[in-house]
Subunit: 381 residues, 4 copies
Amino acid sequence: MARKIRMGMVGGGRGAFIGGVHRIAAAMDGEIELVCGAFSSSPEKSIASGQDLMLDPDRCYADFKEMIKKEKKRKDRMDVVSIVTPNHMHFEPAKLALENGYHVICDKPVTFTLQEAKKLKDIIQKTGLTFALTHNYTGYPMVKEARQLIRNGALGKIRKVVVEYPQGWLSFPIEKQGSKQAEWRVDPSKSGVAGAVGDLGTHAENLAEFVTGLRITELCADLSSVVEGRVLDDDANILLHFDNGAKGILHCSQICNGDLNGLNIRVYGELGSLHWRQETPQYLHHKSIDGHKIYQPNVGKLSDEANANTRIPFGHPEGYLEAFANIYRNFARTVRKRMNGEEPTALDLDFPTIDDGIRGMQFIETVIASGKQCKWTKFKS
Amino acid sequence: MARKIRMGMVGGGRGAFIGGVHRIAAAMDGEIELVCGAFSSSPEKSIASGQDLMLDPDRCYADFKEMIKKEKKRKDRMDVVSIVTPNHMHFEPAKLALENGYHVICDKPVTFTLQEAKKLKDIIQKTGLTFALTHNYTGYPMVKEARQLIRNGALGKIRKVVVEYPQGWLSFPIEKQGSKQAEWRVDPSKSGVAGAVGDLGTHAENLAEFVTGLRITELCADLSSVVEGRVLDDDANILLHFDNGAKGILHCSQICNGDLNGLNIRVYGELGSLHWRQETPQYLHHKSIDGHKIYQPNVGKLSDEANANTRIPFGHPEGYLEAFANIYRNFARTVRKRMNGEEPTALDLDFPTIDDGIRGMQFIETVIASGKQCKWTKFKS
Amino acid sequence: MARKIRMGMVGGGRGAFIGGVHRIAAAMDGEIELVCGAFSSSPEKSIASGQDLMLDPDRCYADFKEMIKKEKKRKDRMDVVSIVTPNHMHFEPAKLALENGYHVICDKPVTFTLQEAKKLKDIIQKTGLTFALTHNYTGYPMVKEARQLIRNGALGKIRKVVVEYPQGWLSFPIEKQGSKQAEWRVDPSKSGVAGAVGDLGTHAENLAEFVTGLRITELCADLSSVVEGRVLDDDANILLHFDNGAKGILHCSQICNGDLNGLNIRVYGELGSLHWRQETPQYLHHKSIDGHKIYQPNVGKLSDEANANTRIPFGHPEGYLEAFANIYRNFARTVRKRMNGEEPTALDLDFPTIDDGIRGMQFIETVIASGKQCKWTKFKS
Amino acid sequence: MARKIRMGMVGGGRGAFIGGVHRIAAAMDGEIELVCGAFSSSPEKSIASGQDLMLDPDRCYADFKEMIKKEKKRKDRMDVVSIVTPNHMHFEPAKLALENGYHVICDKPVTFTLQEAKKLKDIIQKTGLTFALTHNYTGYPMVKEARQLIRNGALGKIRKVVVEYPQGWLSFPIEKQGSKQAEWRVDPSKSGVAGAVGDLGTHAENLAEFVTGLRITELCADLSSVVEGRVLDDDANILLHFDNGAKGILHCSQICNGDLNGLNIRVYGELGSLHWRQETPQYLHHKSIDGHKIYQPNVGKLSDEANANTRIPFGHPEGYLEAFANIYRNFARTVRKRMNGEEPTALDLDFPTIDDGIRGMQFIETVIASGKQCKWTKFKS
């Protein structure tokens, strides 16, 4: 008899934001069960958080090391570990989990440094376990449709890509006013060398490469720390060159006051263009000199990739949490099949991996290198 | 130690649509656990459906009577029953569940006839149990915000209400082409006396009364069965009078080819108007002669009612499933508190009840009475 | 050598609104020259208004009778008369102008009563002169495209029409606060038997019949005078039946606070639907179960009728004044050809005529008859 | 007695695009009369074009020199010269017109080189005549409102500006397929050193500086000639630095297939942001962490500058031609007052001047200098 995939969580205690998102995403489709967690670096808080979640107190651990160790002894032990801590605390739990036989799903950016990301890839390859990275915006069905349209040549040769990720919630120094979410994001010891570029720019880079299938080869960045007192960038304007000769622009910001979560992309090819905005993710615009069409989930004939990541009939909007859940569900199906000795399908495997994570870390380090000198810089390898 | 609310489901087997929605809505927030079900009138299909859901085979029942009877003997028995069958099969399981001590959450329209709905209210009152009706569109945070704005006088006296629910998926006779979803909806033995009016019109009526706080007192309906061979209405145009003297229009349709799930409402008061569309539910427009504002979840200061039904920060779209889940979550919190002898708060109790169900059945019967004679007809009581 | 068509104007003096619109519409394309006018019932104001317009003082007349009489004696006399007075002062100047050999272009509704409209038709037919009615909203290129798409069968059989014209500028009794525009519109001695229905409903009716090619056969109206002290309707909700069996809804209002000039139409046919909104007139949405396309002027292949009424390349928005000017330009071209003994083309003749005016007056009188008794009423003939 | 301003035109013969736009813009408000022209470098075509326009054949001149010379002898001679030729033919007619006492209104970019633009400024100053540049996009009322809001501190300190001007009509080499509009734009002997940057980038630069009141101090450009065979840029991505420390992005393109005339701007300040798109110019979005408002012409309280450039009530869309006409009308009022020895008001003088033209030429030359070497380059002076 089939059972749900059992998940333990690292991070995501009381007051955290992204942990709750991961839990909803994992729970939604009924294929994963949260069974344990090390929710906080404070043991008391970890246990209290687990109680909020109605977990068995025995399985609310003081830290991830304890969780990994003790779960191994249980018959009903967890199958996968979900890592939702700030950037600087991704590598260690991921490594330990993999080395102890657990599949891992991890928030982005994948690690604190590019070097860590590469090490992690080695470990994944060595263990043969499944690793998913929650670059959640590629989980939207219309993003998958865009990728398929481009794969199928609907735009011809890609010429220009404009990808933007403006947010405005850090327009004021709220990190000094008690915002826990703001605090770690502007702190180099937790976020790494980049601020907006790490938090938002990596999503934009990932989206652009995912949708177009192209790779950025070099870039020229203009970074700013707009709000007084910040050491990391909170705004970045970046020119891009792609491996097929296409040009592009990527900008991301935490100080675009009035913008909410404005990730969007426009891809221009010889034959037409695609336009998508995260805040109304159900619409994919396909425009050309000859006309303007809007694609929506379940309307007309769409790709298998879009259909597989849509739950409900047309006109019933699915949103951010469903896109996030698509990654969890595909990850869970892959894990289940591998646990059963079956081969996952291409649709099962449709989630971001360590390679996306490495690209993201390369992007961060290349931007920082360019931004210091304001010059064209080759993509790090 | 707290535990999840345990839920059994009636209906929602393989091939059903709304059952899966209910399951996602129940699972999302981690407060409810699906433990058993009578998923189909065919015992084999019920069991197969339960296996798909990774349930204990012992708790996949042949019919709702068996489920109610056998669960009572279990120590870990279900707490609540979710009813997701077509309209004609709501009353019997609801009645039996309540009479056996289970709280009930039920799809709409609440029953097959107004008379049944009134009987059900008696039973609910007698048992003192909790009954929720999944008029899911009132679960959206911006719908709650609209209600609060009107309660607080933002529009002054309401003068006109336009509420629309156009769909187009039944533009062709797909009930003859194997669509299970279409079949029961056009079949009077399963849907009752109304087609589009029951399926969609009741949502529109509920939304209008929910948002405005007004009650429809009389109406004048023009019903059509547009697609050849249909006996129930698939299109309805209805003039409304409200109890404060306001006028209105309600129209709903299954043959508006090109419209998806186009529920929307506009409420015009002396001082301004509110405009909301289900397909982009994150936007609530507040317009007046002096200006146009757009409200969105978590942007600026909103009502407690809106905030309590929002999960994630601004710009991260929540959709249909989250609105649906709000009903389940509020229902679960109410049930939990009542099971613990605590008093639910107003925010816990913010879900539709049997009274909404009775209004819906009155609406259906009034429309049908008017539509036969095309004349102003007082709202049934 | 060709010369511009010479125009005289009746009404449109200082403080008027629609007169200025007519002048811009007439001037824009350089085919018509305003040469004289009787701009006000006050001779002094008429002359002052003419001076504002830099007209020859000799041709600023005290009233339309004087204008018609004196212009006849001039060698460079006007060719056409433009009538922009309130409704009750359309018939007399139109009659006199036609009887003295001038072509006429007139604001809507065409006359004060249906009887006058029919008389006017007789005079037009007898004189053989050209008469245009400025139902300006059918001058938009995307409205013409909609008509052509339907003519060409893009929607199949029409099943439902929803046409709306909400305005909000009369939400308060501004007619008592010095608004000249409001004063005459709520005054039965100037507007006739209808308020919103005459001012706005006729546009909606005209748009629906223009776009669909159908004719309303009966209707059921619910009229209101919402703002205290008004005797004419300022809000109307109307159910429609069309000659092919289609159903419809028309509502118009002057008290929809927050709506600006919200004329819009949706036409649903067997195969799909068309959606158009006056406030963003460059977009025509064509939707069906299979997809959603947006048509815009000069994008892709459009009808000759749309192209002939577009001046500038795609993406350069044309608006209300250009749509209005299309009527003037087509009227001017028709007049010029007829003056030269040539046959106007179908594109020249693409402007509303006395027949549209008669339909409008029939509509008004039918609505008033129905609204008094709230019952289905056959369209007046 | 007042009379219309008399205008002669240079360029704009049969087959031209922008000449017709200028004529409509000049005619619309009834303050300017086109009396003569040198419409083409071919005398026959010039006369034929004048006949199309119903001008006196005596005033259809073989070239601008003849026009300027012969008009001087007429009592009813023209007052102003409108120059609508390609870029390389702006300077000579402007110079000659000014030196012969005519006011000038000229299409943009103002000249072929920066040096010419500076010379022209000297001539204007020496003659004391009025010179207007048709940077038409700043003629929109909501653009003026944006400028006033920023002047009044609504956004606080400006931090970031994103201005875009994507077009797609040159996605294919239509200059080789007979498109006259395309031919001169891609020809360095007619357009100058820049392609998209001159045609579109200057509008974007002008809009950004107009709205913000800031000045670009340096930029870093990435230019491309995407379509094979082109020598001028048809796509440009540019990073900007402003004189107050703000950063920005400007990109413009002729190969964004599917975009029409997509000029748009977003200005982010400490306190909020403004968002405007040319294709729906009636909407100005004002967003901040606290809310989202939409401003529209004549809705609520707007600046005098916005109101003075709006003709009709709210909800009646004005478009590209009206914005263009605002420049002509303000220019005409300024000229009239100066001809009458009166002082023009600030509202009369609200049109672009030679200084805008010089900024545009500086922008072009700076971009080209940067683009060759892909490096930060100070704004030319």
